[in-house]
Amino acid sequence: MSDTERRRGKVGYLLLLPAVLWLGLFFVVPFYSLLATSLFDQSGSDFRGYEMDYAFGNYVDVLRDYWQPLVRSLLYGAIATAICLVLGYVLAYAIAFKAGRWKNLMLVLVIAPFFTSFLIRTLSWKLILSDDGFIVNVLQAVHLLGDDGRLLATPVAVVAGLTYNFLPFMVLPLFASIDKIDHRLIEASGDLYAHPVVGFFKVTWPLSLPGVVSGTLLTFIPAVGDYINAQLLGSTNQRVIGSVIESQFTDANNYPVAAALSMVLMALIVVMVLVYVRRAGTEELL
């Protein structure tokens, strides 16, 4: 190894250092603390303190008591991600291939909602979906909703809110992937007897898979953990796991349960992501 190479190696490590320190301090340490808390004795409290007694039973309790919000969160997240994928793919495709000189403007428009607060945007959906709002009135007029039917405080509202809030996270990686596709490859597929629809599934779609995978992950993971949409747009009878964790931490002060729930959620997401990435077969593309 030459001197310059060795120096380059050192510089490499030096560049890694800030991020490693940051993650070590604010991810590894809290993660360890969370893991430890999840195994504390449930009978403890803020006043009396907690005892570490390797209470793996916490996990059993948590799964027994809160499997419904857990499944509901995963379901909401999955549905919102699927809708985001369909809407986002069409949008990203149009921006990448059809927008021409409007490309940059359209990308800015995709990000534009971020300039307003997440809370404000979600609250405004309360107005959009309100019981005497335009959408509900129209749906009632065409009898898609009963006369006393409503959208607010239903899963539909929660999924709509999630879809709206996380769509940009889907569109941007999709756009980056689709925009990179050499248009001549699509011409070549047509030249080789592929109908445009077949050409899409044989060429465009596989080449955009890296964007599909990162887009779905960036959407699904935060959507599953999100509880703002459920709190503002959903019903209190249909809680999501995020709000259960929040209330266990803040209202019930049951730290071990809240921590165990967090661990379960994290483990579930990690497993699902691993299975998903393997199934998508994009390890070498990523």
């Binding site: 001549r184 490859l185 011409e187 070549a188 597929s189 047509g190 030249d191 592929a194 050409g199």
Partner: protein, 388 residues
């Protein structure tokens, strides 16, 4: 167009033609007309080259045949079928793209099999293996395109198009990305494959040497039109326009005035010297013209030396530059009227090399000279030809 009138296979437009035929094809874009009323007949089974500088409309013509562009007007027929507006995936035409456009996510086998699979062809495996054998890539079948060298990728692109046995195979500057040595060997390779499979090849290129090496018919395109079409030797030996004379090889063009015309010879006063040009090589009816002669057809000798060139002898030259390029010596000779003429002399070793400043006499056989239209630019095609 006059060149079609002289084509031996000229037939009425409604008779089915088994090759590729373009009739008054025009392609206008918003700001310019790329192809302007083009007529073209490509005989079945031929290796046809469309040669021209960049921007001459040759690639647009190719893309219209492939169905990737729609003509503004005119018609394209292939083996008697009108394909002017047929979708690209519905026409029996395949393309070898300029940068190959291989599918990066598919291995070599699947790239080559792509067209067969789309048409649900039987026996994909056998056919692909046969094709990979033809292009000598059998051992690379399971690699991805990015793992192959440029020359190998080129062969995959060729195999992927050829396997479909198209009525016409289009090659869009297929060798542009390869280095010179590889390009030469691929030229021979592609020519061999074409002879072996017997399909019609239409090859677009700006490289005149490539066109002449590979094609049996070359059409020289300029500004959306065909300047001249014919066998490479015919185009080279008897160019009809200054553009062709300069773009294909190099030419000396000397201003002259026509003295007389007879059945087989035109006599021209070229800067005070009377020279003759065969009538079949006289391409202007005007009183003035450009006398053209290829540098390698010009003989260089000492003043008063009787060289084997009855007819056209031009005395009074002074050698102004000598470059030795191995197979030949290239002279620039300043003539009494101020023009510098190029002379290439084969290095046979039997004649001595002249030095700059020496007085020489040039001569050429009348049958090698040609006469072009004086109104054409004597420099047309020259710069593009040199840059290419």
């Amino acid at each position: 167009m006059s060149l079609l009138a002289e084509a031996p296979d000229q037939v009425a437009d409604d008779t089915p033609y088994d090759g590729l035929r373009l009739r008054s094809v025009t392609k206008a874009f918003a700001s310019f007309t790329a192809v302007d009323g083009l007529d073209l007949d490509v005989p079945r089974g031929s290796f046809f080259a469309l040669l021209g500088p960049s921007g001459c409309g040759k690639t647009t013509t190719l893309r219209m045949v492939a169905g990737l562009e729609t003509p503004t007007s005119g018609s394209i027929t292939l083996a008697g079928q009108d394909i002017t507006y047929a979708k690209p995936y519905r026409r029996p035409v395949n393309t070898v793209f300029q940068s190959y456009a291989l599918f990066p996510h598919l291995d070599i086998f699947e790239n080559v099999a792509f067209g067969l699979r789309r048409r649900r062809s039987a026996d994909v495996k056998t056919q692909v293996h046969e094709m990979l054998e033809l292009v000598e890539l059998t051992s690379q079948a399971r690699k991805k395109p990015a793992q192959l060298s440029g020359g190998q990728q080129q062969r995959v692109a060729l195999a992927r198009a050829l396997i479909n046995k198209p009525e016409v195979l289009l090659l869009d500057e297929p060798l542009g990305a390869l280095d010179l040595k590889l390009r030469r060997s691929m030229q021979i390779e592609i020519k061999r494959i074409q002879t072996e499979v017997g399909l019609t090849f239409v090859h677009v290129t700006h490289d005149q040497e490539e066109a002449m090496t590979m094609a049996d018919t070359v059409a020289v395109m300029n500004k959306g039109l065909i300047e001249q079409m014919g066998a490479p030797a015919e185009l080279y030996e008897n160019p009809r326009s200054t553009f062709v004379a300069n773009f294909l090889g190099q030419s000396n063009l000397i201003e002259g005035a026509v003295l007389s015309r007879s059945a087989d010879v035109t006599t021209v006063d070229m800067q005070g010297i009377s020279v003759s040009v065969p009538t079949g090589r006289t391409h202007t009816d005007d009183a003035a013209g450009w006398v053209g002669i290829r540098p390698e057809k010009v003989l260089i000798g000492e003043e008063g030396e009787a060289l084997d060139a009855p007819g056209n002898t031009i005395p009074g030259g002074v050698v102004s530059d000598v470059s030795f390029v191995g197979v030949s010596t290239q002279y620039l000779v300043r003539m009494p009227w101020g023009q510098e003429l190029q002379v290439f002399e084969q290095n046979t070793g039997r004649r001595r090399r002249f030095a700059p400043g020496e007085r020489v006499e040039l001569s050429w056989r009348p049958e090698y000279a040609f006469l072009l239209d004086r109104s054409q630019d004597a420099g047309a095609g020259a710069v593009a030809g040199v840059l290419a």
